[in-house]
Structure formats: structure tokens, C-alpha cells
């Protein structure tokens, strides 16, 4: 059933036998895949955008450039940045669609610590981690000298700084070349797919901190967005 802007075929990458209730949330498409302007603000978003807009070239932009991307008439943007999502929501010519919670950030160290009140530390659409790992040792046995995070991941950085703010680490630092040879390092902030998260990584313990999700921001009239009853989203793009 076509609700808005029908006339497009369903992407073959999606399930061939969709449920009966299929909704089209945006009309379209009007732009061919090879001419779509698609961007994402992080590596997860790039993968997602590449999957949704197959055939389109996806560029990686910073938060500020993401706002410029919207102002410049970009077609598709995948981001988890709260400020970008807020800005896109304020624009009538763009539709913002929350995608499923798909990432989990965890604190990985030798210690098992109950860590609370970290959601506000990130500038992303985040929630406290739905998954909880059992805490068998309450006492803090070691305060890591540094908590390392991937240099390009601002969410991980914010979480690392929050841990420092909570005195759970002495300093936050990006992962560098010398990280493996640095024997003082014993803690990391890692981002991982939410469905493959585990509580133990080798000899280290993972403490889930937050779950995050991306938002699909599409320019109205450029592409069609179809969501099935399972919550899966696909783009309808002009051939």
C-alpha cells in the first residue's frame, strides 16, 4: 500500500515477502542513485548509508559540515549527532527518521565497575545501555592511568572524559600507535554492534555504558522511504 508519493519499486535487498503492512513514509523518488548526495557523520552511519542508498557515493562529514550539508540541499544524511538531528527536525523540507538502536559503547578494563549517569555525556541520540553485565567485584581494584578511545569517535571520547570526570580514570587519550606498547593502559572505550555485545573480552571486562542509534535524514521529494512492520527501513530511489 502506497501512502505517499508512490510509484517506486521495492528495493530487492529487503525481504522478498514483506509483511502485509508496508508503509511509505516519504514520497519519491525523484533523484537517481548515482546523482544522490549522501553523507554520514560516522563510520556506522557510512555503512548504514551505503546499505540504504546502494550505488550512491557516501561522504563523511563533521557535525558542522553536516549542518552545511543540510543547508546545501543534501539528499540523504545518516547521523547520530543530537544537534544535527535537532536542526534537521526544525527544517520542514527534511524528514527525520530514527533508526533502530544498533550500537553499544562499553568501558573495557580489568575492573568490573557499576557506572551510571553517563548518557548526558554524549552529544548523540543515546540511552543507558539496555544490556547489563553482572558485576561480581564491586571494589575498584585499579584506576587506569589512561582510558583510550578511537580518535575519530567523538562519542567514545565524551564517554572517556566522563569516566575521567567520575574519577574512574586519570586521563583520556586517543588511541595512538604506542597504545599497545603502553603497559600503563588498562581501559578502553569501545563501540560495537549492539547485537554482538558481550560482557567479557578476553581477560577484560566490558561495562556497557550507552546505546546509540542513527537517524536517517532525507530531503523531501528526493527519495522515498519505506518502513515495513519489522521496523526495517529502505530507500526508494529513481532508477
Amino acid at each position: 500500500m502506497c501512502v505517499l508519493g508512490c510509484g517506486h519499486t521495492v528495493s530487492p535487498s529487503l525481504p522478498a515477502s514483506p509483511p502485509a503492512a508496508v508503509s511509505v513514509v516519504l514520497a519519491g523518488p525523484a533523484v537517481a542513485a548515482d546523482s544522490l548526495r549522501v553523507a554520514a557523520t560516522d563510520s556506522f552511519g557510512v555503512d548504514l548509508a551505503s546499505h540504504l542508498a546502494a550505488g550512491a557515493e557516501v561522504s563523511v562529514v563533521t557535525d558542522r559540515r553536516a549542518l552545511d550539508f543540510i543547508d546545501g540541499g543534501g539528499d540523504v544524511l545518516v547521523t547520530d549527532r543530537a544537534s544535527v538531528i535537532r536542526y534537521a527536525s526544525s527544517r520542514a523540507d527534511y524528514a527525520t527518521i530514527a533508526l533502530p538502536w544498533d550500537r553499544q559503547y562499553a568501558f573495557v578494563s580489568v575492573s568490573q565497575l557499576p557506572i551510571e549517569n553517563v548518557v548526558d555525556a554524549v552529544h548523540a541520540d543515546a540511552r543507558p545501555a539496555a544490556e547489563r553485565c553482572p558485576v561480581t567485584v564491586i571494589e575498584r581494584t585499579l584506576t587506569p592511568a589512561r582510558v583510550l578511545y578511537p580518535a575519530s569517535d567523538s562519542i567514545a571520547r565524551s564517554l572517556a572524559e566522563r569516566l575521567v570526570g567520575l574519577n574512574l580514570a586519570q586521563r583520556a587519550a586517543p588511541i595512538g600507535r604506542d597504545a599497545l606498547s603502553d603497559t600503563t593502559v588498562s581501559a578502553y572505550i569501545v563501540a560495537r554492534p549492539i547485537d554482538s555485545a558481550s560482557c567479557d573480552i578476553g581477560a577484560l571486562h566490558a561495562v556497557p555504558l550507552v546505546d546509540t542509534r542513527s537517524h536517517l535524514i532525507v530531503r523531501r521529494g528526493a527519495v522515498g522511504v519505506v518502513a515495513d512492520t519489522t521496523g526495517r527501513i529502505r530507500l526508494e530511489i529513481a532508477p
Binding site: 543530537a82 549517569n117 548526558d120 555525556a121 552529544h123 565524551s158 564517554l159 572517556a160 572524559e161 566522563r162 575521567v164 570526570g165 567520575l166 586521563r171 583520556a172 587519550a173
Partner: protein
């Protein structure tokens, strides 16, 4: 010490010593002035630094006051303070406000001291730090603000705003980092730091909050001592160079002066050494008009006077020699005539008393007459030549001794050793020696006495009298005076390479021994 060395020392004393004194004085004065100037600069920088710190503190206060006035008007902030769902705005507020106001630290704290929003450390929210705003109420202070990368030293102040019924404490500040310290430095040679430094010249205390304690941190103004030391070394190098230059100049001057002054003096000395009474042809003529010329002309005049004096001296010596020679001739002739006179008196007495014995007496004394005549003849020939030419031959001293005749009233005692060896000499000279000694002995005895002539087999001749003898003083002067008997004897004995010994005492006569071998 040579003249050149003296010149060099004089140059050293005149040039180098004053130069060293001047250099030391200049160095001291320079150091004193530099120190004064340096202290003024340090004091000025300290004053400027205090002013800058006060201005920075005032600027922080102004920015916080601006925020304080603006805060209650922000309805989103009000909402964020009230509704947990709007908390993101609150957490980001301090960071944005900090950047907008140009502060390096800004944190909003509630009345309990809980950090609501932190600009320098966004994710430090909810940490309790009630002591910081409380201690900053006393005034600006340095604090170690927390950041994710570590502590950051900040000059901080505190202000308060009221939003509704909530009091918000605003703690803000400017980072005191290397850039800030560089801005405080108005003198390129002075540095401002917060760490103790061995070259520290001034310290400016400033309140420092660390945790819950309030202490003092020092802004240290330092000056690299190497600069002043380099200046000193530069002055010393120039000073050493100047001394070396003057020393070289002094050496060259000494050498040149020694050459110009010492060489003429050395030449004068060499010419003067050539001077002798027999060689007064040294020429001291010069055209120099300096002291050397004056000295040369003085020496020339001296030589001229010496020449004149020498001429007069030689004339006087010639005259004295002639007189001496005359006296000697007279003396020798008198000595030669004395035997003749004695023999003739004897003949006269015999002719008067016993004329018949005249012939045998004559025969007896003829040898004496012949010897005297021969002596006088030889004497005459020698003096005629003026330069007597000796003719060495074997001389029988005993024979000459036997020809000696003494006046009446005196006794002649001959103790002649036949083994007395003949000597090789001019017989006239030997006879003159004996005649002179006998003549002196007769004179010493007056009218009576005994004259003893003895010889020995080892070539010694002794003539002793019983006359008045001589004191030591008389003996000392006995051989003085040209033309006198003993002086002639001594000269003749010396010519024969013989030796002479005198034994005499007042009233005990005189004995003179001559060793011919």
C-alpha cells in the same frame, strides 16, 4: 739589567699598568651600571607583571559579571535547570559561554557546590566542589582546573547569579600557560615563570588554591645569568685584546727605542773602551741633537782635553826622565870615581910617608885603577847610546867584590866563597849593582864601620854594613825615587831576573842579599 729590559719595564709601567687599571675601573663601572639598569628593568617588569595580573583578574571579573547579568535572561537555561530532559543544553552551556567570553575556564555550580556545567571539562558534571567558589570569594587566585587532559593552571575568580530561587556560582578564569607568561614578559631578556629558577631575580606572590588549601604561588622573574656573564666575558676579551695590543706596541716601542737609543749608547761604549792614553784618535763627532748627541759631544770634548793633557804629561815625563837620567849619570860617575879617589889618596899618603913604596903600591892598586877607568869608560859608552845594550857574558862576582875600596876609617870584610858560580849578565850591570849598594852602605856608616861582602856557592851576594839601619817606614820608601841608589839596584836586579832581600833595623845596620840564580 739591560737598557732594553728597563725600557720594556718602563713601557709596561707607563702603558700596561694604567691600562689595566682603566680596564678594571671600566669593568666595575660597567657592571655597576648594568646592575643598576638591570635592577630597574626587573623592578619595572615586576610592576608591569603585577599590573597585568591585576588587569587579567579584572578582565575575568568583567566577563563573569557580563555572564552574571545575561544568565537570568536565558529561558532555555532556566528550562534546563528545571527539566532533566533539557539537561544537554545546561551541560553545553558553560562550554559555549566560555568560548564566547574568551575564558579558559568556566563552571557553573549550584549553592551546594555541585558542578552543573563545566566549559573546560564538560563531562565533569555533578562533581561536588564546594570549596573552590568559597575560597575564591576572598579574591582572585590561581587554581588547577580539571580537564580531560589533566590539570590546567588558571587565574580564576568567582561571581554569583540568581535564577529564580537558585543561586548559581560562576567560576571562571584565564589559563596561566606559556603564552600567558610570554605576554607578561615585556623585556626580551627577562622571563616569567612559575617554577623556581636559579637565575630568579624577583618573585611576585599570588594566592594559589589546591584542593581545600590556600597557599601562595610565585611568579618568578628570572634573567639568564649567561647573558650577563657573556657581557662580562666580552668585556674581558676586549680588555685582554687591548692589553695584548698595548703589550705588543710597548715591546715594539721598546725595541725601536732600544735600537735608537741603546745602539748609539752601545757604539759610544765600544768607542770609549778603545780610548787609551796612547790612542786618543777616537772620533765622537755626531750630528744628533738629542741626549745621545750631547753625550757624544761631551765625550769628544773629553778626548780633546785628554789629548792636550797627554801632550803636557809626556812633556813633563820627558823632562822628569832627563832629570832622573842626569841624576843617575851623576850618581854612577861619582860611584866610578870613588875608588879612583881612594887609590889616589892612598898614593898621595904613600908618596908623602914612604915614597919608596910607591911603586909596589902602584902595582898593587893598578888593577883597581884599571877597573875604575874601564867602568867609567863603559858607563860613558852606555850613556852615549842612551839605550844601554846589555851584553850577557860570564861574570865573576867575587872578582868585582875584590875591587871594592872603602874610605879610611872603615873596614872592608870580604867573605867570598870560591865556589860562587859565575853568573850570565852584563858585567857593567853587576858592577853598578855592587857599586850602588857599597856607596849606600858607606853613606849609612858615616866615618866608621865595617862593610862585609860575602858570596855563597849557591849564587847569593850579601852586602852588609854596620850603619844606622832603617825603620820600616824608611825601608818602605827606600826604593822610591828615580835616580836613587836602591831604586836603581832594584830595577837592575829585576832586569837580571834576580831577587833582592833586605834585612835592616834602626841602629843595627842593613844587609841586602841578592840571589842571582
Amino acid at each position: 739589567m739591560s737598557f732594553r729590559t728597563r725600557l720594556f719595564i718602563a713601557f709596561g709601567l707607563i702603558a700596561i699598568v694604567p691600562l689595566i687599571g682603566l680596564a678594571i675601573g671600566v669593568r666595575r663601572e660597567l657592571e655597576a651600571r648594568l646592575t643598576t639598569q638591570y635592577q630597574s628593568r626587573v623592578a619595572a617588569l615586576a610592576a608591569v607583571t603585577r599590573t597585568d595580573l591585576a588587569q587579567t583578574s579584572a578582565a575575568v571579573g568583567d566577563r563573569l559579571a557580563s555572564l552574571r547579568d545575561q544568565l537570568p535572561d536565558d529561558e532555555r537555561l532556566r528550562a534546563a535547570l528545571r527539566e532533566p530532559g533539557q539537561r544537554a543544553y545546561l551541560l553545553d552551556y558553560a562550554g559555549q559561554a566560555m568560548r564566547m567570553t574568551g575564558l579558559d575556564m568556566l563552571q557553573l555550580q549550584d549553592s551546594a557546590g555541585r558542578i552543573l556545567s563545566s566549559g573546560q571539562f564538560r563531562n565533569e558534571y555533578d562533581r561536588l566542589d564546594p570549596s573552590l567558589p568559597h575560597m575564591l570569594d576572598r579574591g582572585a587566585a590561581l587554581v588547577n582546573a580539571r580537564t580531560p587532559d589533566g590539570p590546567r593552571l588558571v587565574l580564576a575568580r568567582v561571581d554569583s547569579a540568581r535564577i529564580g530561587d537558585r543561586q548559581i556560582r560562576l567560576v571562571g578564569g584565564i589559563a596561566v600557560d606559556s603564552a600567558f607568561l610570554d605576554r607578561l614578559r615585556t623585556d626580551s631578556t627577562l622571563t616569567v615563570s612559575l617554577t623556581a629558577h636559579q637565575d630568579a631575580v624577583a618573585e611576585i606572590p599570588f594566592p594559589f588554591i589546591s584542593g581545600d588549601s590556600l597557599s601562595t604561588k610565585q611568579f618568578v622573574i628570572s634573567h639568564p645569568s649567561t647573558d650577563l656573564e657573556a657581557l662580562r666575558q666580552s668585556v674581558d676579551r676586549w680588555f685582554v685584546a687591548a692589553v695584548a695590543l698595548v703589550a705588543i706596541a710597548a715591546t715594539l716601542g721598546a725595541v725601536i727605542l732600544a735600537a735608537r737609543v741603546g745602539q748609539p749608547l752601545a757604539t759610544l761604549a765600544a768607542e770609549t773602551e778603545r780610548l787609551d792614553l796612547d790612542r786618543l784618535d777616537v772620533n765622537f763627532a755626531t750630528t744628533r741633537d738629542d741626549e745621545i748627541g750631547t753625550l757624544s759631544r761631551g765625550l769628544g770634548a773629553l778626548v780633546k782635553r785628554l789629548r792636550s793633557s797627554t801632550v803636557r804629561l809626556k812633556e813633563a815625563e820627558r823632562r822628569a826622565t832627563i832629570g832622573d837620567l842626569s841624576r843617575q849619570v851623576t850618581h854612577d860617575i861619582k860611584n866610578g870615581l870613588a875608588p879612583l879617589r881612594h887609590v889616589l889618596r892612598h898614593f898621595d899618603q904613600v908618596a908623602r910617608d914612604d915614597p919608596g913604596a910607591l911603586a909596589p903600591i902602584y902595582a898593587e892598586r893598578r888593577a883597581t885603577l884599571d877597573a875604575s877607568v874601564t867602568y867609567l869608560d863603559a858607563l860613558a859608552r852606555n850613556y852615549a847610546r842612551l839605550t844601554p845594550r846589555t851584553e850577557p857574558q860570564r861574570v865573576d862576582v867575587n872578582a868585582i867584590a875584590r875591587s871594592v875600596v872603602v874610605p879610611d876609617g872603615m873596614t872592608l870584610n870580604l867573605v867570598l866563597d870560591p865556589a860562587m858560580p859565575a853568573i850570565t849578565a852584563d858585567p857593567i850591570v853587576v858592577r853598578r849593582i855592587i857599586e850602588n849598594l857599597v856607596s849606600n852602605a858607606i853613606a849609612a856608616m858615616g866615618t866608621r864601620g865595617t862593610l862585609t861582602i860575602s858570596t855563597t856557592n849557591n849564587g847569593c851576594l850579601t852586602i852588609a854594613d854596620t850603619g844606622r839601619g832603617m825603620t820600616e817606614e824608611q825601608l818602605a820608601h827606600a826604593f822610591e825615587g828615580p835616580g836613587l841608589g836602591l831604586s836603581i839596584v832594584r830595577r837592575l836586579v829585576t832586569d837580571l831576573a834576580a831577587s833582592l832581600r833586605v834585612e835592616t833595623a834602626p841602629g843595627k845596620g842593613t844587609s841586602i842579599e841578592i840571589a842571582f840564580t
